[in-house]
């Protein structure tokens, strides 16, 4: 029983971070219908800037720099590459992000060289014991930050001009343009937000508590697991991103112990496959109507 509770706690903590990552996918997809395969490289990029600026700025300053630069990189990718190819459909643009991902990831892995820096200085490896259960501080802070950010996002999405514009654009692009919504601004903001979320997430991922490894190629692989998170919830559902994230965290933790560690990685994807077969647009996704 104790083991089970501990696994639940581990899974929930990780789920919060997966939710942040999945939300990034969802924001971009909602605004542009593009699936961003470069999300993992945004995560790496933010983390890398923390590493290089930490010496001079201190951890807190470096963390801010990292978050901002991940956002800026996302913005640049959108402005310099995606927005230039107006003719390309979302499908081709998704392929384009694969190209971006390969380049950014390989370069950062090269720059990291032999070092595997951990970047969760403020909370890493300081567990709390509550009863017989260990709470990892990284997980606790991640849960808190995820709750705050996701709430803020929901509020912005519902009440801010950007949120309204984005929802309008997601509903009907042509109509939104007709009523004067500037599609480029909505799109850019979406990318910026996704980048920032990636920059925040990496502060929890490249830690001893979360991934057991510092910033490396493995960090990128973890961001990949946010794919099933986003898909399970439904690529165009913000609420779904949270459910999906938590699901992935729990499935991973529980199947590691109760089935086998080797199976855990596949288990997450298997759950995704089952969800997709039953509900092709994810649990909370809008059913895609066939456009004639």
């Amino acid at each position: 029983m104790e083991t089970f509770v501990q696994l639940l706690v581990n899974g929930l903590g990780k789920g919060a971070v997966f939710a942040l990552l999945a939300l990034g996918f969802v924001v971009i997809f909602k605004a542009t219908e593009v699936v961003n395969f470069a999300h993992g490289s945004l995560v790496l990029f933010g983390g890398y800037l923390v590493v290089v600026t930490r010496e001079t700025l201190g951890w807190a300053g470096a963390a801010v720099v990292g978050i901002v630069s991940a956002g800026v990189l996302a913005l640049l990718v959108e402005r310099l590459l995606l927005s230039r190819s107006k003719l390309a459909d979302p499908f081709s643009l998704a392929l384009l992000t694969i190209g971006v991902d390969v380049i950014v990831t390989e370069e950062i892995v090269r720059r990291l060289g032999v070092s595997l820096p951990f970047i969760g200085d403020a909370w890493d490896a300081q567990p709390l014991q509550v009863g017989g259960v260990t709470m990892f501080r990284t997980h606790l802070v991640a849960l808190l930050v995820a709750t705050v950010l996701i709430t803020a996002f929901f509020l912005a999405f519902r009440y801010s001009n950007w949120g309204v514009a984005m929802r309008a654009q997601a509903e009907n692009k042509e109509a939104a343009a007709l009523v004067g919504i500037r599609s480029s601004r909505v799109t850019s903001t979406a990318w910026l937000v996704a980048g920032v979320l990636a920059g925040v997430a990496v502060l929890f991922i490249a830690t001893q508590d979360f991934s057991g490894a510092g910033l490396s190629r493995g960090t990128h692989s973890i961001a990949l697991a946010a794919f099933p998170a986003a898909i399970i919830g439904g690529l165009d559902s913000t609420a779904g991103a949270i459910v999906g994230g938590i699901t992935v965290g729990l499935v991973d933790a529980l199947s590691t112990h109760y089935i086998s560690f080797a199976f855990a990685k596949s288990a997450v994807f298997l759950v995704m496959l089952v969800v997709l077969v039953v509900r092709p647009s994810g649990l909370f996704g809008t059913r895609e109507s066939i456009r004639v």
Partner: protein, 417 residues
């Protein structure tokens, strides 16, 4: 367009006229000093190959080993070389990818006498047949006794299975485990992990231990959930045949979850960089068994190599790979000298010399080695070390070279075949 066709035809004709690649020359011949030479050896140079990992998961250790090799080459050349020939290294990076290695190999093969370093069990698995066919004496940076089935493989130091057996007897001797206990073993799926596990299983059988085996892959770094499970099963110790990063995770979880049992790791499980990681505070329960010394062991030869490393201004932080790399190269020196004495510096001659090498001396960098028993590890002695951030290289001894009774009786998979 017609011109293009004409051009194509013309070039085809030229190609045909150039003659084919056939008609290669016989490579062996009498060289300087009355020594028979072959591939990779000229009158002035001996070329040894290094296929290493500069970009993959074992890049730290590999880089250390490469630098160790390089330091020895500098020394030996300064002292006049081997057999009146300067030693040269041909270094390539395969990024721990078998496919890249498989392509690089045919290109390396005609240039080198043997491999002083060949990193990684996946690469060994892919190239094993080629090495045997080409009679290429090779020192893999992989200490699996499974590799000893290939007569051209020279493992400097003991093998993972024997390390585990020695290490477990150390734990038992110190009263940390006793017969009948439950013990967890986390191992990487691969030749490395499988070989460590082989040793643990053998010991468990001898001492009635209940072994909880958990297989992981080299890229899984968060072992928290596994250690949570092992805690639930009441393990008295955790054995690791993993990467250094995974060691950090297991140690951190061991502490965080309040399990606090001793952790026993094979030689490659530790990397001094762990002292700079958040797991630094959790390393006090870690014991590492190895047949080569830590970077700054307090033996004269190790100190000497450490000093050379500092003088050479390498950028990478030092690790146990450096003295090991130096020692391996030195063993190669011994073997090459012997081949030179025999007057045969061909690949066959080197192999012959290897089998005649019953004692290779490395100034205690590695336990004394005996290569004359095909299929058997060249030594069964190990050191036990513990992490210590205050020393260079990050590790200090807790037990000097020893060979456990169980290790002596253990039969390696290809022994006596």
């Amino acid at each position: 367009m017609r011109r293009l066709i004409a051009l194509t035809c013309a070039s085809a004709l030229v190609l045909a006229a150039c003659g084919t690649k056939g008609g290669g020359s016989d490579e062996s011949g009498e060289g300087a000093g009355g020594v028979t030479t072959g591939v990779g050896v000229t009158d002035s140079e001996i070329t040894l190959g290094v296929m290493t990992d500069q970009t993959g998961p074992f890049k730290n250790l590999s880089t250390g080993i490469t630098h160790g090799n390089e330091l020895w080459v500098e020394d030996v050349n300064a002292a006049g070389g081997v057999c009146d020939r300067q030693v040269k290294l041909e270094i390539v990076d395969h990024g721990y990818k078998a496919d890249t290695a498989k392509t690089l190999y045919p290109q390396m093969e005609p240039k080198v006498l043997g491999f002083v370093q060949l990193v990684g069990s996946p690469i060994m698995a892919a190239l094993g047949g080629d090495l045997e066919a080409d009679e290429m004496t090779t020192t893999p940076a992989s200490w699996s006794s499974e590799l000893l089935g290939n007569p051209y493989v020279m493992i400097v130091g003991t093998t993972y299975d024997v390390e585990m057996i020695d290490g477990l007897s150390y734990l038992q001797e110190e009263g940390m485990i006793s017969d009948g206990d439950t013990v967890g073993h986390i191992y990487i799926d691969g030749e490395y992990g499988a070989n460590g596990l082989r040793g643990a299983r053998y010991y468990a059988e001898q001492h009635d231990l209940k072994l909880r085996e958990v297989k992981i892959t080299s890229s899984d770094n968060d072992l928290t959930n596994i250690v949570t499970g092992l805690k639930g099963q009441g393990v008295k110790a955790i054995l690791l045949t993993t990467t250094p990063t995974q060691t950090g995770s297991a140690a951190a979880a061991n502490k965080a979850l309040g399990l606090n049992v001793p952790i026993l790791g094979n030689n490659p499980t530790f990397d001094p960089l762990l002292h700079d990681s958040p797991a630094a505070g959790a390393l006090d329960q870690l014991y590492v068994v190895a047949s080569s010394v830590p970077f700054s062991a307090d033996i004269p030869k190790a100190q000497e190599v450490a000093q050379k490393y500092k003088d050479a201004n390498f950028t990478a932080p030092p690790n146990a790979g450096v003295p090991y790399g130096y020692a391996v190269a030195e063993v190669w020196g011994t073997v090459l000298e012997k081949a030179c004495e025999n007057g045969d510096l061909t690949r066959a001659g080197v192999h012959q010399a290897l089998e005649e090498t019953t004692s290779a001396e490395t100034g205690d960098l590695v336990a004394a080695l005996d290569f004359s028993q095909p299929g058997a590890p060249a030594t069964r002695e190990v050191y036990v070390a513990q992490p210590d951030a205050s020393v260079e290289g990050g590790m200090k001894y807790v037990k000097q070279l020893f060979e456990a009774e169980d290790a002596k009786n253990y039969k390696a998979p290809h022994e006596g075949q």
